[in-house]
Amino acid sequence: MKTVSLGASRPTAVKFRMPTRDNLVPIRVDVEVDGQRYRDAFTWNPRDPDSEVISFAKRTAKDLKLPANFVPQMLHSIQGQLAEFRSYEGEEMQIREKIVPLKIDLRINSTIIRDQFLWDIGNLDSDPEEFARTLCDDLNITDPEVGPAIAVSIREQLYEIASQSVSAMREAKVSKKGRRAPEFASNSKAMNNSLDLFKYFGSKGSVVRKRKEWYLYEPVVDVVPSEEAGGADATEEINSRSGSKTITDYSY
């Protein structure tokens, strides 16, 4: 683990990639055909060839018994997201140690999970999958679909932050401020949601959270009875994976 450094470390510019150990893209698909809705979220390895996308889409449609006219839309959606990811790939982005709060607020089948935690997006060895696995194990979550949903949610948030960093870099290059130190530029842009470690931990330098803040950071898992899932929107509920995620701005 990296040591906590007081103050921002010198940023390094790196080719765009997911700031995790495995460069995997989170993909979210939401297709509606003939009143039937298919919603899904999963992780994809961008190094897989495009033929994989086609066979994956067909296979998923077959497994879920969806009609064949789902496949082109699924394909379009997945390929679009992959293309967007690849369009970032040539760019450079800033990597430095930066702690951001990530939030999970998901409902999967009948399990609701809410959690928030701090994540260092400068750590290129971070692993959302491992985090999701250990979280599920520790909280004794029996539904196996919760883990992947958490991992995808984390990845999506990281992806958003990383792409923001790329666009910030781009703007910095274009604007006049690019002539100044890049550190300064990145601070002024949309990176407000990072925490200054020094301020956060206080002058005492203790890593332990204040007790009154414990409740904020406790994960909450709820299992709701499944009768809510039936009803007029039966089709939607069963096929959907509702995931709402927010990155909140903490003002300290």
């Binding site: 150990r21 495995d22 995997l24 994809w44 897989d48 599920c136 196996p144 991992a151």
Partner: protein, 640 residues
């Protein structure tokens, strides 16, 4: 030392194996009948338990040796250990052979060995040289009901036989021997289930899974605790290069996590096919890797064995036979709507090629690339088109209920599903959106009216697609022809059905029952029908059909007339009843009127009496009054 590869084979395939070995070895087979006593050392003989196998070759014993005067002792040692052992795929173990006399059993008992079990192994063997001196032994193992009673032996596993491929080796040449044995085993691999002895086969929770793992080729090496070399070889992405040291999403841990989860998940419900989507939704990781592990496990039969229509790996045709059998015996519940190619495991497109001999289905690409076993030729494959099957098993009655419910309740799916009965809301919605004539409900049908005067079946079905009460023809699903016609007309649309109905009517009316030649439309139908007549001429068939139709027509007309007259009669009765009731009422009224009249007169006479009392003194006036009153027929009395 000797190299040993063990495997099992189903008894039904033993003949095939024999033929194969015969061809490969070129030597005649030898009968094998061995009485094997397995002795295990007791605790007082040392810390390490050891095992001694006494083999008596009954096939070669002469009648004079009936008393087991000549035995071969084989002391089977443990497997070779060391860095090299993991690399090779066969078991190398130490063997000491010697001859002994028939007292040997008592000797061993004396030093502390105990008889663990004894079996009788019978079968055949082939001894030949192919890179090394190889002996292939195929035996069925039987146990003896009584001690040393070789005549009464009961097979332990009648359906399975044991196969052993052994070759003696020395310390300096065992590598060569191993490679010789391994390469030879490649020939046998399609027929047998080979394993590397020493590896546990893992824990199998249910009988179904046990059968599955026994019958699958991969089941033999699979173990929850270890990663087998086969897996390392075939899934290099997890084990080679940078991934070998990685943890988490890449690397052996990830592979083990995926594999164990998938196998456990399948084995908890062995009859049910585990789909990739379901599996990857429960696994944390990128779907590409999950898919590859899933495919690998499915190919080796560790997943979806016996729960899939397409067989296992393409080259292993024998396993496909097993799959076909087990599938029929396991009675798969899940339906497989589309075809998976056995070769490349992708969904076949519009058509696929199926081979009856080996029960393989290939997609067009694999067929063109000749991606099938050497034993088959392209002629063995038959092209089969894939049609879109109806995805639902909705009966007509249910469809009718659904439509009625939708018309009554609109979008209230809860009530719709209640009305339909056995279908959930989701099913109702899905079915409704998929109905082929769903759109036609929106168009009113006026042209049906002109066809109703003809009471022909085709007519009614052709005009049935419209709103409201016209759905009743669909309800007549008990008549199979009606149901068929209803379905056809639903598929083709109302206009076509109407036209077809009209054409059929006109065609039938053209048929002359007397037997003279018919119009041109008959020729067309005649050609069509000539292909499916069996002895009767088309004309006769048509005549019959038209005669039937006419008879039906008349019947219908009579029925209609009858019903008309019934209706009229009923109306008449109604009217008569009404008249009768009115008459009764009038009677009653008459009676009441009379009563009122009588009461009135009574009252009048009372009044008269009163007046008389009042006018007593004046007798003259009362008399005049009386006479006056008598004249008046109707006195006007105001009683209030």
């Amino acid at each position: 030392m000797e190299c040993v590869v063990q495997g099992i084979i189903e008894t039904q395939h033993v003949d095939a194996l024999e033929v194969l070995l015969q061809g490969l070895s070129g030597v005649p087979k030898e009968r094998v009948r061995v009485h094997e006593l397995c002795l295990k050392s007791g605790p007082n003989l040392g810390v390490v338990p050891s095992e001694v196998r006494l083999l008596c070759d009954l096939a070669q014993s002469t009648p004079s040796c009936q008393q087991y005067s000549c035995r071969t002792i084989r002391h089977v040692g443990g497997a070779m250990r060391g860095a090299g052992a993991e690399q090779i795929s066969v078991l190398v173990r130490s063997i000491v052979e010697s001859k002994a006399s028939n007292n040997v059993l008592r000797y061993f008992y004396g030093i502390g060995y105990k008889l663990d079990h004894e079996v009788l192994k019978g079968g055949f063997a082939f001894r030949f040289h192919r890179g090394a001196q190889i002996t292939v032994t195929v035996t069925s193992v039987s146990k003896m009901t009584k001690l040393h009673a070789t005549n009464e032996a009961v097979p332990i596993t009648p359906a399975i036989q044991l196969v052993e491929i052994t070759a003696p080796a020395a310390a300096d040449n065992y590598n060569d021997v191993v490679s010789a044995v391994t390469s030879f085993c490649e020939y046998l691999a399609p027929l047998l289930h080979l394993s590397k002895p020493g590896n546990s086969t893992g824990i199998v929770p249910t009988a179904g899974a046990a059968a599955a793992s026994l019958m699958s080729s991969g089941g033999a090496w699979f173990s929850y605790d270890t990663i087998h070399e086969t897996e390392r070889r075939l899934m290099p992405e997890f084990f080679e290069g940078e991934a070998a040291a990685a943890s988490g999403s890449r690397g052996p841990e990830a592979y083990k996590y995926y594999r164990d989860t998938l196998v456990r998940r399948f084995r908890s419900r062995p009859g049910r096919r585990l789909t990739l989507t379901e599996a990857r939704r429960g696994l944390v990781g990128d779907v590409g890797s999950v898919r590859r592990v899933f495919d690998f496990l499915e190919e080796w039969g560790l997943i979806n064995y016996g729960a899939s229509p397409s067989g296992a790996k393409q080259g292993k045709d024998k396993k496909e036979d097993i799959t076909a059998q087990s599938q029929s015996s396991l009675n798969v519940g899940a339906t497989m709507p589309s075809k998976l190619c056995t070769g490349c495991r992708t969904v076949c497109g519009l058509a696929y090629f199926s081979c009856e001999k080996a029960d393989i289905s290939l997609c067009a690409r694999c067929y063109v690339r000749a991606n099938y076993r050497p034993g088959l030729t392209s002629a063995d494959f038959k092209r089969i088109e894939i049609t879109e099957d109806a995805k639902s098993d909705w009966t007509d009655k249910e469809t009718l209920h659904l439509l009625e419910a939708v018309l009554h309740y609109g979008e209230d799916w809860k009530r719709v599903s209640q009305h339909v009965g056995s279908r959930s809301e989701k099913d109702c919605i899905a079915r409704f959106t998929r109905l082929p004539f769903g759109e036609q409900f929106m168009e009113p049908k006026e042209d049906k009216m002109q066809l109703e005067n003809d009471s022909d079946f085709n007519e009614e079905s052709g005009s049935e697609i419209s709103k409201r009460l016209r759905l009743t023809p669909l309800a007549d699903a008990s008549n199979p022809i009606m149901a068929q016609v209803a379905f056809l007309s639903a598929i083709v649309g109302s206009d076509v059905a109407v036209a077809a109905g009209q054409a059929a009517i006109s065609a039938q009316s053209h048929v002359d029952i007397s037997g003279s030649e018919t119009g041109y439309s008959m020729n067309i139908t005649k050609e069509e029908e000539s292909s499916c007549t069996n002895g009767l001429s088309a004309n006769d068939l048509l005549k019959e059909a038209s005669a039937n139709a006419q008879v039906q027509l008349e019947k219908e007309q009579k029925a209609i007339e009858q019903s008309f007259s019934d209706i009229v009669g009923v109306q008449m009765k109604d009217i008569q009843d009404k008249i009768r009731r009115f008459e009764q009422k009038e009677l009653l009224m008459e009676n009441e009127r009379k009563q009122v009249h009588y009461l009135r007169e009574l009252l009048f006479s009372d009044q008269l009496a009163v007046v008389q009392h009042q006018r007593r003194p004046s007798a003259v006036t009362t008399e005049s009054k009386e006479s006056k009153d008598d004249e008046k027929p109707k006195p006007i009395i105001s009683i209030s």
